[in-house]
């Protein structure tokens, strides 16, 4: 016996299905969408970051926004640790950063302060992988 479906129920099912597909596509797309900023790549990952304010000043706190995308389909680890140090001086910052996930591979972090002029190296630990990026602060 053929099941009788009401047109309203059929429409609702179709709508839910369409939303589900969109959400799946959108989730992948969002996770791989890197905002504008400095880009750093490893074999497996691409990360993008920007600081607020854009120009880092010695002795002035700043915020860092960070996003990470896998080059292949695997999801980005939520285990993110962000830090920086001065290799020539053999010291890091006097502060630990606090990283807040924003979803879709994006993170907000605060507690940044470079207390000396010279070359600083950002350390981005994403899961078991470390990416680095040099900046010169005057």
């Amino acid at each position: 016996m053929e099941e009788r479906r009401s047109p309203v129920r059929q429409f609702a099912r179709a709508l839910i299905g369409a939303f589900g597909a969109l959400a799946a596509l959108g989730g992948t797309a969002l996770a791989c969408e890197l905002p504008p900023g400095e880009r750093v790549e490893s074999e497996r990952l691409v990360v993008s970051y920007r600081t607020i304010p854009a120009q880092i000043a010695v002795g002035q706190p700043f915020v860092l926004e960070f996003a990470a995308c896998p080059k292949r389909g695997t999801a980005v680890s939520e285990r993110i640790k962000l830090d920086a140090h001065m290799p020539e001086h053999r010291h890091g910052m006097n502060y630990r950063t606090r990283v807040t996930p924003l979803g879709a591979g994006r993170f907000h972090s605060e507690g940044w302060l470079f207390h000396m002029p010279g070359r600083w190296e950002f350390l981005f630990d994403v899961g078991s992988e470390r990416l680095t990026h040099n900046v010169r602060v005057e």
Partner: protein, 396 residues
């Protein structure tokens, strides 16, 4: 013949004087990198902004109350010690002693209050994260003013002038809670101290002339000070820590000053962070007026590391010639002693896990004297502070 000899002598004297003037008015050939480093130490005065953690920062009524409290001996139950005992205005807002003396001698040198609004951490160990919290500390310290929360609060409530001043500053009478009132006292004291700014120094005139490309004006800066400045921003690497317009990066370093004190060692920043974290008046507490939370980020995120042991705050160098003796324990009497300390620094005294920035400079006697000439050129030409007047009676 005599006329001829006199004329020749005058000519010689004139030539010698011109040569002297030329020597005096000489501008060193600073490289582009040196010039950039020099320009970073200005402009001066630095822009002033109110402290967001203190709702009465910049408020004239709070400044007046703070000034009254700063010179108020009754804040100490002994009636003998006031803020100005150690922070004497006529001694560069410090006391010219190696170690401060309140009710008893403490282990540290009194820091000057010049440009204190520009600081991020307060005290040699940075145990204070705001000027108002730091202003409460000596009131309660048994060796300094020996007071208590209850005593300070009772004084302000009972004294008609102080209570009136509080009402004017905060727009409400002194609160019933002692802790809230003590926080208010700290905030008024801070509002006053934020007005203690240093004036422009010969260095500032040189720096601005350099920025404007005015070689003639820049050349008026003494040659010895120029040579000292070159060491400061160059080989000496002093400006890595003594950075920016205040000549301090506001952070903490181990500079190899012995930190043994009676009965133990001075832990410096390591203990300072510990004290900060348990202080109920810190910026993470209820008395912080900054609802955005931005001012408390440093307090929440500061890292406690083993290397903090023996680290002390980098002091500002503005008006440094007025604030002898030097270092956290006042162990160096003159600026020449300080320069010699860095010149003959023993790397063995520095932490093995610390930074590798400090190296003995091995300066000659002439270079030492040049660096001192530069440091002396950071002395303001004239005070920019208004003269103190007797406090006017308070009217609500």
């Amino acid at each position: 013949m005599i006329r001829f000899i006199l004329a020749a002598l005058l000519l010689c004297a004139g030539a010698a004087r011109a040569q002297l003037l030329h020597a005096q008015a000489q501008l060193l050939d600073f490289t582009a990198a040196e010039t950039r480093a020099i320009l970073r130490h200005g402009p001066w005065p630095a822009p002033w902004s109110p402290d967001p953690s203190n709702r009465v920062s910049g408020n004239p009524a709070a400044i007046a109350l703070g000034e009254r409290l700063f010179f108020e001996p009754r804040l100490s139950p002994s009636g003998k010690v006031l803020c100005a005992t150690c922070h004497a205005p006529f001694r560069g807002w410090q006391d010219a002693r190696a170690r401060a003396l309140g009710l008893a001698e403490v282990d540290r040198n009194t820091p000057s209050l010049y440009d204190v609004r520009q600081q991020r951490w307060f005290g040699w160990d940075g145990a204070g994260d705001s000027l108002w919290a730091q202003s409460i500390r000596p009131i309660l310290d048994a060796r300094e003013m020996g007071g208590s929360q209850e005593h300070a609060a009772a004084l302000v409530r009972a004294d008609a002038e102080l209570a009136c001043g509080y009402q004017r500053a905060f727009g409400a009478p002194p609160p019933a809670a002692d802790a809230a009132l003590l926080a208010g006292i700290g905030k008024a004291l801070a509002a006053f101290q934020e007005t203690i700014v240093s004036g422009r120094a010969p260095f500032d005139e040189f720096r601005d002339a350099l920025e404007q490309g005015d070689s003639a004006a820049a050349a008026r800066y003494p040659a010895a000070a120029q040579r000292g400045l070159r060491i400061f921003v160059g080989r000496g690497n002093c400006s890595a820590c003594h950075f920016g317009p205040t000549f301090s990066n506001g952070e903490f370093h181990d500079t190899g000053v012995p930190f043994f004190i009676k009965g133990g060692v001075e832990p410096g920043r390591h203990a300072g962070i510990g004290k900060l974290q348990v202080n109920s008046f810190n910026l993470l507490g209820a008395h912080n007026d900054d609802r955005s939370g931005a001012s408390a980020v440093k307090t929440r995120q500061v890292a406690l590391e083993h290397r903090n042991f023996g680290e002390f705050k980098v002091p500002s160098l503005r008006n440094v010639a007025q604030t002898a003796p030097y270092m956290h324990n006042g162990s160096l009497v003159t600026l020449a002693d300080v320069v010699r300390h860095y010149s003959e620094l023993s790397p063995d005294r520095l932490h093995s896990d610390g930074e590798s920035l400090l190296k003995p400079l091995r300066l000659s006697a002439g270079e030492t004297s040049d660096l001192v000439a530069f440091l002396e050129s950071l002395t303001e030409r004239a005070s920019v502070l208004p003269p103190r007047r007797p406090a006017a009676p308070c009217r609500r």
